[in-house]
Symmetry: C2
Amino acid sequence: MMPDQEHPVLELDSTDSWNLLAGSELGRIAVSVGDVPEIFPINYLAHEGVVLFCTAEGSKLVNLTINRHVAFETDGFTEDFAWSVIVHGTAEILPNGAQTEAAEKLLQHSWIPTVKYVFVAITPEQVTGRRFARGPAPDRW
Amino acid sequence: MMPDQEHPVLELDSTDSWNLLAGSELGRIAVSVGDVPEIFPINYLAHEGVVLFCTAEGSKLVNLTINRHVAFETDGFTEDFAWSVIVHGTAEILPNGAQTEAAEKLLQHSWIPTVKYVFVAITPEQVTGRRFARGPAPDRW
């Protein structure tokens, strides 16, 4: 089902949302530190129900996200439609050797070469998504 | 100056960062609510030193961002390079009639048709950016 000019925003169920997320590789993770938000772009891989990313050991990103609530967003668009998926969950460092195959795949498409790294998994508590029809603005009230 | 395989990440100054931000139109705003992060995609316009966006009156996005610290991110990439710009600042609703010309421009390229809307301005306290060389992962330690 697609949105149209009459119903320009369509709420997606968690399965459709996850499938869109799984087809992309660039997202942003938001974290809250003393009620001040931080945001970081990440290359990620959707793998067996978690959002996996890697980052430098000891980085600010690791220190701020681990064992905390995080919000994660990814999006995409074509000429006619746009979509956005948001995950709420918690992040944890994976033990060495875990997720090896997925980890190698992730490393191969990451933008940022990193020599000493850790893998972090975001375990979703909620996955939501919306698809938008892109079009001219309607008449205003 | 461009990053390369030897120096794959280049920190950008605030002017270069702002110019990259000003050339794009889709970003994400992060906000912290009781130490839990939220994230929203937004269409935006860089205008006279602020990041301007519009959203439905009374929306969750408005309620959560106004008069709060926000973090805002936008990014882009080509085959060889990627960049990301992050703004830390505060958000406030603009009075009716303010920013009229910019507002019209913003409405014309917004994805989400909205009939009753408010304009919100993010006033930056800090603008940072990084440019990445996209390439294969280096040898690991």
